[in-house]
């Protein structure tokens, strides 16, 4: 956690201390999740934490504008949510399912990580879908990401309220059809059609 740690720090505000970093938050959660007696499972928890870090980094890497999912701490929420919804066995399944050649995900090369995640997606489609959903929602709620969306030129709020969005009010001269079309059948003009002309079995009888 060297390069990621330094870039994470630089992406955050100057008043935020290192111990509030996303990676640390994720690790803390995972340690807490393992129970009050943390010493026997510390290695396991740290291994799982590192796996989740590597996983979200593969799912949503950063680019010149957007931060990575790791940088915004998506792995912490991912671990939290998987445990709450599917329990510890699901976390174990993630950790074990992402092992390739006895190496955990974070111990693999970048190319191997991508292949490993692709294999996991094939082998555990439902769990992977859940992971992706949680990771994406966790990612796109982060203020760093909404800031990047705004940098693309979109008017995008951190949350829908209280501001809402200014929109140009409806103007009939612009927003209504220039040549209104359409028709309806009046009550007295409703006439029978023959459904038997259609190639369906509508069953017996009718309602009229």
């Amino acid at each position: 956690m060297t390069g990621r740690g330094s870039s994470r720090g630089s992406a955050r505000g100057p008043n935020e201390s290192a111990d509030t970093s996303a990676v640390d938050r994720g690790e803390r959660f995972l340690v807490e999740a393992s129970g009050t007696d943390i010493s026997p499972s510390t290695n396991v928890a740290r291994g799982l934490a590192a796996t989740l870090e590597a996983l979200v980094e593969v799912l949503i890497p950063g680019d010149e504008l957007f931060p990575s999912a790791l940088k915004v701490g998506a792995h912490g929420l991912l671990g939290d949510t998987v445990r709450k919804v599917h329990g510890q066995p699901a976390l174990d399944a993630i950790s074990e399912g992402l092992v390739t050649n006895k190496r955990m995900l974070h111990q693999q090369s970048h190319l191997d990580r991508v292949e490993t995640v692709r294999r996991f997606e094939r082998e555990e489609p439902e769990l992977f879908s859940f992971i992706r959903m949680v990771a994406y929602y966790s990612y796109y709620k982060d203020p760093l990401v909404t800031r990047a969306i705004r940098a693309l030129g979109h008017d995008y709020n951190d949350s829908p309220q209280p501001e809402g969005y200014d929109m140009v009010p409806f103007d009939p001269s612009v927003n209504a059809p220039a040549k209104p079309r359409g028709r309806y059948v009046q009550t007295a003009a409703v006439v029978p059609v023959d459904p038997n002309e259609l190639d369906f079995d509508f069953g017996e009888g009718s309602d009229e």
């Binding site: 969005y165 009010p169 079309r181 359409g182 028709r183 059609v193 459904p195 009718s206 309602d207």
Partner: protein, 555 residues
């Protein structure tokens, strides 16, 4: 469970506080009658909505999910089904708490399907009979729209102008114009100007987690405050177990569980109104079976629970080069196309469909494929996909009329119960081949629009399950206690009065004999306004009504 005893008898007991229950309670309480409403959930105050939190999209997918089977709040009850994902909200306001308030009316021909093709019944009244009550209900709810739609009968003024269209509307209109098809601003029960003490919509784009501003016509904002001021009693967290009857077969009241106190009570009333919508109402009637009504209350016709309709639904999403601000403005449709709303058997099916142009919600939802599972790829391509798609998408909802089929039905689960031990509903629903063809036609027309607007990416969600079956989100719960002209083939008469139990009324979507091809809530509201006004004006007779009185209703 402790017995909490009996409450003082009232004139009217209403079960359920959604559109039907709220409308009925308000009208009857304002006329001076004593009214108690029992609601199994509670209020959803503005501060409880997710709109103010950065994780609003996650909440929308979880504890504000539209499906009770996913949301699983204590007030929710399970729905046993593998055929659909049933939308409902169990709290004050019912499903108006998290619907989109899309507010089109049925068309005149929708009331005449018995004449048109005979595979569904006529309504016991016409569009013209209902039109004045549409207007009353619109005024109570506050509706935005534009007069002059040539595809609908003339109507009175809207309360506020249409919702803003923005670039999204211009792009969609370009497509419909190129194809020479009808389009018109959609009627919405969302106010665009301050109205009746409520704030105008500020286009926040998260309608389906409720509207904490009260701009959207959630009856918890529009009706309940007035009903309570008029003297109505709304008892929350009170889950009704069964409606009781006397030896003469008249309803005497209801047994309910106070979920907070853990006590069971009986509320007596001269008139009982069930307003739990298309799943909850048949569930309650079937759970109320007794010696006199062994097949469930008001079920001598064997129609309670049958003829379930949801509408056929497909969503065709398309992405264009222009920025269309897919996340801004009302969630649901800003534009309706009624070009294919009337039956034309040359298309190969009966009944019709409408196309609704709608937006795509927030960034997380759009990255997760919006409504059609066009999911942003993970990995190095993720951000490129997001740049090209976010804010560039729109969707067309294909909303088709579905036939009322007797085997599409609500029964009681033999194994599943709610947290109070009351049998859960079991839902079976399949599309008729006619309706499948109708939907395929509609999907193809939506794809025509995508071509007409030069969409660079198109994705279709036909709600096909892995086994190929149609598994819809079931937004609309209709038809399971159909109204009609005869006790042999319907549950209620045109005044929503049960043929079998003359002082029992059903006031919700379950009474609709057909679904039309549009969202039903404006029609549910208008139908309930009409029936409740009749009940109010004839209350002295109604509280003494007998089955023989109802025979006069037969035509």
């Amino acid at each position: 469970m402790n017995n909490g005893g009996h409450s003082d008898p009232v004139d009217v007991l209403v079960i359920g506080s959604g559109m039907g229950g709220a409308v009925a309670t308000k009208i009857l309480a304002e006329s001076g009658l004593s009214v108690v409403c029992l609601e199994q959930g509670t209020w959803a105050p503005p501060e409880d909505h997710p709109h103010y939190s950065p994780d609003w999209e996650w909440q929308r997918a979880t504890n504000w999910n539209t499906a009770g089977n996913i949301r699983r709040r204590p007030s929710d009850y399970p729905v046993a089904t593998e055929d659909e994902l049933t939308l409902m909200w169990n709290g004050v306001g019912g499903s108006t708490v998290h619907y989109t308030a899309t507010w089109p009316r049925l068309r005149p021909s929708d009331f005449r399907k018995g004449i048109e093709h005979g595979l569904a019944p006529n309504w016991p009244f016409t569009y013209e009979d209902l039109a004045p009550y549409y207007e009353v209900n619109d005024r109570d709810c506050g509706v935005s729209g534009l007069k002059g739609d040539p595809a609908m009968p003339p109507r009175e003024d809207y309360q506020t102008p249409p919702t803003p269209h923005g670039p999204f509307g211009r792009v969609a209109a370009k497509g419909f114009d190129a194809l020479g098809w009808h389009w018109w601003p959609m009627d919405e029960a969302i106010i665009t100007e301050d109205y009746d003490g409520r704030h105008a919509c500020n286009n926040c784009g998260n309608c389906q987690s409720g509207c904490p501003r009260g701009s959207l016509a959630d009856v918890a904002f529009t009706h309940w405050p007035k009903a309570i001021v008029a003297g109505a009693q709304l008892r929350t967290n009170c889950r009704v177990e069964r409606v009781e009857t006397d030896r003469a077969g008249r309803a005497t009241g209801a047994v309910y569980v106070d979920r907070m106190a853990g006590t069971r009570h009986f509320q007596a009333a001269d008139i009982v109104i069930v307003a739990c919508n298309g799943i909850g109402t048949p569930r309650l009637l079937l759970n109320s079976a007794n010696n006199l009504f062994p097949d469930g209350l008001a079920n001598s016709s064997d129609q309670v629970g049958r003829n379930l309709m949801h509408h056929g639904l497909a969503i065709v999403e398309m992405w264009v080069d222009e920025v269309v601000d897919s996340h801004k403005g009302i969630t649901s449709a800003a534009i309706i196309c009624s070009e294919f709303a009337e039956t034309d058997t040359s298309r190969g099916f009966i009944n019709g469909l409408t196309l609704h142009v709608a937006r795509l919600n927030g960034a997380g939802y759009q990255a997760l494929g919006s409504h059609s599972a066009n999911i942003a790829p993970w990995g190095t391509e993720h951000h490129a996909w997001f740049r090209s798609h976010f804010g560039h998408g729109l969707c067309i909802l294909v909303v088709g009329e579905d036939l009322p089929l007797p085997d599409n039905r609500v029964t009681l689960s033999e194994t599943l119960t709610d947290s109070d031990g009351i049998s859960a509903p079991k839902v079976s629903y399949k599309l008729h081949p006619n309706d499948r063809r109708l939907m395929d036609f509609g999907i193809a027309r939506a794809e025509d629009v995508a071509k007409a607007i030069d969409a660079f990416d198109v994705n279709v969600n036909d709600f096909g399950a892995s086994d190929g079956a149609y598994a819809p989100p079931a937004w609309h719960l209709l038809g399971t206690c159909r109204m009609g002209k005869s006790p042999e083939d319907s549950v209620v008469n045109q005044w929503l009065q049960c043929w079998d139990v003359p002082n029992l009324y059903i006031m919700d979507g379950s009474v609709m004999p057909t679904s039309g091809a549009v969202n039903p809530t404006s029609t549910i509201g208008a139908t309930v306004v009409r029936a409740t006004a009749h009940l109010r004006d004839n209350f002295a007779d109604a509280r003494r009504a007998t089955k023989s009185d109802l025979e006069k209703e037969r035509s």
